[in-house]
Amino acid sequence: MTGGNTAINLGVFAVFVLITLFVVYKVGSRNASASDYYAAGSSFTGAQNGIALSGDFLSAASFLGISGSIAVNGYDGFLYSIGWVVSWLMGLMIIAERLRNTGRFTLGDVLAFRMRQRPVRAAAANVTLVISLFYMIAQMAGAGALMALLLDVHTKGGQAVVIAVVGIVMVMYVLVGGMKGTTWVQIIKAVLLILCVTLMTVFLLGKFGFSLSAILETATRNTPLGPELLEPGVRYGESALSRLDFISLALALVLGTASLPHVLMRFYTVPNAREARRSVVWATWMMATFYLCTLVIGFGALALVGSETIQDAPGGENSAAPLLAFRVGGAVLLGIVCAVAFATILAVVAGLTLTASASFAHDVYANVIKRGAADPRSEVRVARLTAVAVGLLAIAGGIAANGQNVAFLVALAFALAASANLSTIIYSMFWKRFNTNGTLWAIYGGLGSCVVLIAFSPAVSGARTSILPDVDFAWFPLGNPGLVSIPFSFLCGWLGTLLSKETADPAKQAEMEVRSLTGIGSGLR
């Protein structure tokens, strides 16, 4: 990149990897029990887990993508980020405490609590694996693009090597450290990321006399949009369809966050429901700080760097934050920002790998294949093997998707989480009659409708920006399926319940209702 120093970038990044690997090695235990591997022995405090939650959640897409989107689309980029802050209220008031009280390691624990174990656990694991893989492939492909931007690696082969290195380091985190090590990686990364954006923000505000209005004014002079930059509609306002598409995206963001499997699994790393609640409070503070900072950084990049330079840089709008860093702090700050962005990808994919491996080992191997009679040691062994397999899949997928516009995979992951997971969690906690059949309909209805709608949407074919721009089999006009698939999944759950002769087990239902609110029977205090 212009003026960047590859040696510094690589150096800062190597230091991060070495330090985190050392920490992971220190805290990881060689003979981990299932509880250690999946949930870090539930030994983290609310504050620690809250910071780790924000670390798991803030991907490179949020850091580079949102600040860049604000620099290019102005108000509409900001609008995008708000959903991610607001969505934590859902996690706080409805999901966190009930999940902690009801389950032990995975989402399957909660969904299968009062249902027939095998089909429901298999379904929960399917959804978890699909969401994690989609999300991970998007992140890995992003790592390739980021490298092109930051390290001047432009050949496909070179980027493939980078993606493979990311994959190998992430699997090492998971194998060596389990949940405990991975959590510490998230904490270190989240603290670095927040420090980095806060310092940049304070610096920018200082430069403009602590007046947001002054930054905005300078920004509007550096973009062809002019004052329109600050008004809604630049990105999503073109047509009635694009507006509807944005509403669909907003719905998936606000409902999907707290149903993402790697976010859900974090709630098991704390000892009880009160700490789970505290962790969401911490995460909310971190998120709000972070996205307020990206607002300033995005407009600040525009004010100091200008939209032409940003759009001409390799990586386009993703380069806004790095360019700004170079402008205000030279090669060293650029190196730090790049390393933080890269650490962000690494930590997020590690969290996803752990979640996918836990879901396969705990739900599929222990409860579907071994019918709940698996030896805990072999369960952890299966989890580790799965982590390696998932890592290989993600490396292969990331290399294949490198260079494609796969941003829609992230939106798809949110829509999937909101459609397949949220409806089933809510029904099984609040609707007495909900039964196995309803659970399966809701999960597969949400999963299926999401995947089908996205396959026949402009994200895949028919538009200039799609993966297959030359063929057109798109009949679903929205790029985000949430507006249709979320209600559809609720409808499926309702119909599936009513159409089955099976009645819900009243004893199990009473147990779940009491346990989810009080923790009685869970052994938690």
Binding site: L79, L230, G233, V254
Partner: protein, 135 residues
Amino acid sequence: MAKAILPPTDPGRARGFATFEEPGPPLLVDEAGRPDYAAIRDSADFRELRRRTAVFVLPATLGFLAWYLGYVALSAYLPEFMGAKVYGMINVGMVFGLLQFVTTIGLTLLYSRYARRRLDPQVAAVRALTAEERA
């Protein structure tokens, strides 16, 4: 937390000592000491816990969803209104956007205070119906 206020109940040690404690209500557990969930669910304490939770969570959730989706819809369908200047370069949309941050933090703090004062003590009361804390 509830653990701290319970009297010592180790039966082996308490036997033979006179205490002035009122005998507690019968525990809602079956012969094997497992909690009787149906009985707990129908107890007045649990119903009160459920009521207190619903009274806060239901309106708060519907409220924040309406406020957020309303804000998104306003941005999508009434861009002129959202673009109106309020102060300097800052317009209505920006103010509403920042207000989303304020209401999110505010509601988070409000809920955690409500939970600490009104829910946690009630959870402790329900948990006292079983042998859970004494195991």
